[in-house]
Symmetry: C2
Subunit: 321 residues, 2 copies
Amino acid sequence: MTGIEKLQQEFEVYFNHRHFPASPATLYDPLELFLSNSGKRIRPVLCLMGNELYGDLHPDAFHLSAAIELFHNFTLVHDDIMDKAPLRRGKPTVHAVHGEPTALLGGDVMMVVAYDYINRIPSTFLQEVLQLFNKTAKEVCEGQQLDMDFEKLEKVSLEEYLNMITLKTSVLLACSLQMGAILADASKEDQYHLYEFGRNLGIAFQIQDDYLDAFGDPDKFGKQVGGDIQSNKKTFLMIHALETAQGNQLQELQQLMLMQSPDKVERVLGIFRSCGIDQWADELKDEYLSKALLHLENISVSKDRKSGLIELAYYLIKRDK
Amino acid sequence: MTGIEKLQQEFEVYFNHRHFPASPATLYDPLELFLSNSGKRIRPVLCLMGNELYGDLHPDAFHLSAAIELFHNFTLVHDDIMDKAPLRRGKPTVHAVHGEPTALLGGDVMMVVAYDYINRIPSTFLQEVLQLFNKTAKEVCEGQQLDMDFEKLEKVSLEEYLNMITLKTSVLLACSLQMGAILADASKEDQYHLYEFGRNLGIAFQIQDDYLDAFGDPDKFGKQVGGDIQSNKKTFLMIHALETAQGNQLQELQQLMLMQSPDKVERVLGIFRSCGIDQWADELKDEYLSKALLHLENISVSKDRKSGLIELAYYLIKRDK
């Protein structure tokens, strides 16, 4: 069993209980069900690893992991309302089954319970953890707003997209790691490098996600390949293609974005390939992965303690390799 | 100037600044505007009074007041989405102007900023304040869920309604007072009595609100009188009327609830009066006010320090007298 699997299992054992009171069941039961339909628990594992870097796991690190997992699930429930998504992890979303008001309120109470878990750690660390967590929570909301704003814009620059995706996705990974480290009383400098490891890893992960949506193996990807292209999403790939393509090719790409044709995905992919977008994305991903690993190197613990995080970085990034 | 007005003014001076970053303006500007369209700031004043009971105002009591005001406004923004309300305090609601996704996300980020304000108090009090605040926040969500559930029920008992309204309204008033007292390092027993003062006062306030919706002076009430009757809301009055009315009168009341006729409000009020519901409600309100004041008496500070809270209780309850 790898270090990741070990921590995933330990987290599941800890997390596998009711998080909410029994009543009102109309509010709480949908949330319990949603939480049990687990994802990969990446964020809790990051938090535990951030703590384990410095020695034996602090028992309270599980509380912080739970807080992050609840916060993450709160964002999923609310994002699904905003996106009017019918499915999540292959199952109907909370609002699709129980209505928007209950999903909205359920998300709210899930966030409160996240704060409840944070409040279980020793008070010496509480202020510092809350400061980081609140900053991150605000950024995640900002990222979601920017994502919605971008849908209405004709043109989004790579820099703007990078900022949006950093807020929406990466900072929570970074925060998870740093929260674990705060509880281990890590130095400010180590905390900074750990945060930056997570932030850069998150960006690499998103580049890969965008890449796989276009070029992934349908059997391995788990989602419909080409979904981003079908819905004209401004991804790393599309933004760079619009900045790179010239003349007729640019015109064709712009026209393809205005229509729905059976061969749309195929034709856009053709343009992506001919502009070298696939290779560019692969290199960009590696660039962020390298940045992440460099920050990890700068952390003042022995190399063998870092093996779990290196393993996790490759697990997250190389899933199609 | 009364003690209430003095604290309202001091709070406004403290609160009158931006609470959110400038960007993204699409997310934050609607919230700044919503917060500036102030209500009576009752909850912040309660928090300040709960603190002032024990001596000079602790400067950090303003942070806790702001947290409560932000939390309260977060619930308003989200409740308005759930209720599909077009207006709030005479102005269009956030979702009506900016769409549901932004209102949803705006509410979320307002709650996070509430926690940010709490995190500014000395760490010695942080855990205790958070525990109370989290418990209350969960209860407020539960109250809103029960309120929505009750709309679909044919029959709601007085006990069930009382529980719902306690959660939805009263506990936040109680929490506001107790948070101020925690910051003043008040004894557990005093905290309990102060909380119970607020909880009972909140119930009395709600009984009055239900009463005024039916029997209030339209010029003074500020809302359309009879609104609850028109929308068949199960209020203190309606629940008790359905439990009290007999024979033909009960039948008429039940029929009136199934239809919309021009004289509906008038006829329901006639039944309310003939069953003595108006007097019953007035007595019930006084009963809860007395309970509240009894708890206030039990608090171990000199009587003259309590004058502000007594003033506030009468200000809240006697607004139509």
